[in-house]
């Protein structure tokens, strides 16, 4: 058995388990009939050499944990065309990418892709709206939003990603 194959098999259970523990889990990857309709309509597949949703589903079935460090998962355009085109009811590739990216970030992969997104999240946390201008929200309503952000863990999540990104950037330099 090659070292590569061993790594894949060791990671197998952990990748599927991790996917299935995500709050949006529910895909049945074995239901994929490899028809390729998801790829035919996919904008990412038109411009990215490696992005292929059918292959990503296959790699999940094979429990290939190297997928989380693979840059190709950041190529999806989140257009959701594959969701409606898939002939199976229990595969939603939009959710698959969303989950894979969450898991990748948890393991410290792909943090550089958060560079332009985290400052926008700061706008939202401070103003309740995604704008660099002043908030349109009235103060009492904004307080409610801030309370939701705090108790549901948004502030903690954004702060955690900011810290991880800072560390990763410092290590690179």
């Amino acid at each position: 058995m090659t070292a590569d194959k061993t790594r894949k098999e060791e990671g197998a259970t952990s990748l599927l388990n991790a996917i299935n523990q995500h709050p949006l889990a529910g895909n049945d990857y074995l239901a994929c009939i490899q028809c390729g309709r998801c790829v035919g309509s996919c904008p990412a597949a038109k411009v990215s050499e490696k992005f292929n949703m059918r292959v990503i589903n296959q790699r999940i079935i094979e429990n290939d944990t190297t997928l989380l460090a693979d840059e190709t998962i950041w190529d999806c355009f989140y257009c959701q065309s594959c969701v409606n085109l898939c002939p199976r009811d229990n595969i939603d590739s939009y959710k698959t990418i969303l989950i894979l990216r969450d898991l990748a970030l948890d393991q410290g992969h792909g943090l550089q892709h958060m560079k332009n997104i985290l400052p926008i999240m700061r706008w939202y946390i401070e103003k309740g709206v995604l704008t660099d201008g002043p908030s349109w929200m009235e103060p009492r309503a904004l307080d409610e939003v801030r309370k939701i952000n705090e108790i549901t863990g948004l502030n903690e999540r954004v702060h955690g990603l900011e810290q991880k990104l800072r560390k990763a950037s410092a290590a690179k330099e």
């Binding site: 989140y78 009235e138 309370k147 108790i151």
Partner: protein, 320 residues
């Protein structure tokens, strides 16, 4: 051999019936990207007023936030609780909500699908809502302005001061209008949509048929933000615009402020990156309606467009 027949288009009749009439009370949910093109909001509100409807707005609403999930920056509970809080604000005015943004539209409908996801998520969200004195709302339906204006298209024809006779238009629906997690939110046939062609055709526009009609604008929700070089995003935009340019339309009409922002601003980037000039004006549907209604320039604020829209505005005969 038989001539190839076009694929039959299917419309979701149940959803069509549920779309409010112009005489119904509606809440107008305003999106963040629309701030970059204020005419989208202004034209929608003033055109509705001209047709006898005053949409209710509120500064208690926050951003829609559903797409934070796709940003990979927010827990599911945050997104669902914020959505429910906005439903509480909407419900004070009406159970029918209209948005002019594909992002807000899909954010609400994706969340509606996630509320049914099981694993006790509803109970957890209800618990959060209790802490801010809100309740769990199940009967608010969010419609897109494209759906609302389509249903009320006879009124548009009646109230428009001009027609689109002789004006060539390329239509772009945008991914997050056509594709939803919640199939109940799909009005038109996502593989062969036609409501915008019908609506604009009723105003006598010449609709150009182009090969990449269903292709993404290139913004790709956050694809533009994920990669510093933006190259994949720009390649898709180039492909889309090249397909449109072959037909030399007077304007592209979109129904999403984010598609508008991207298609409008990326044309300058494509000139730098690929040395290719497009110069195709892009208008949001409600801006176009505002032009047809002769709404005042201070409402439309068309000068904010990167690619000037003056030529098409003149061709229509605008006298605002």
């Amino acid at each position: 051999m038989d001539e190839k027949q076009p694929r039959r288009r299917t419309i979701n009749e149940e959803r069509l019936n549920a779309i409010p009439a112009m005489s119904d009370k509606i809440f107008y949910f305003q999106g963040c990207t629309e701030r970059a093109y204020p005419g989208i909001n202004g034209a929608f509100i003033d055109a509705c007023k001209a047709m006898g409807n005053t949409p209710v707005t509120s500064n208690e609403q926050s951003c829609c936030t559903g797409n934070f999930l796709a940003f990979n920056t927010a827990p599911l509970e945050t997104v669902l609780a914020i959505t429910q809080r906005n439903y509480n604000v909407i419900k004070k005015a009406s159970a029918s909500c209209v948005t002019t943004c594909n992002g807000c539209f899909s954010s609400f409908h994706n969340c509606d699908a996630y509320f049914r996801h099981g694993d006790g998520i509803q109970a957890r969200v209800k618990n959060v809502l209790k802490k801010i004195g809100k309740t769990y709302i199940e009967d608010v339906i969010v419609f897109h302005a494209a759906e609302f204006l389509y249903k009320n298209r006879d009124l548009l024809v009646q109230h428009a001061k001009h027609t689109l006779d002789g004006v060539k238009i390329a239509v772009h629906y945008g991914c997050h209008f056509l594709h939803q997690e919640d199939p109940r939110a799909l009005l038109d046939d996502f593989e062969n949509p036609g409501i915008l062609e019908e609506l604009l055709g009723g105003l006598q526009a010449s609709i150009v048929e182009y090969r990449e009609r269903l292709l993404c604008c290139g913004a790709g929700l956050n694809q533009r933000m994920l990669h510093d070089d933006r190259i994949n995003s720009l390649k898709i935009t180039r492909r889309k615009l090249a397909s449109i340019k072959q037909h030399a339309p007077d304007a592209i009409v979109v129904v999403c402020p984010y598609c508008l922002l991207h298609l409008d601003s990326a044309q300058a980037e494509l000139e730098v990156e690929f040395d290719e000039t497009f110069d195709i004006p892009v208008l949001h549907l409600t801006e176009l309606i505002g032009i047809l209604f002769d709404l005042p320039p201070e409402v439309l604020q068309l000068a904010v467009h990167r690619v000037p829209v003056d030529a098409v505005v003149q061709k229509i005969g605008y006298q605002g």
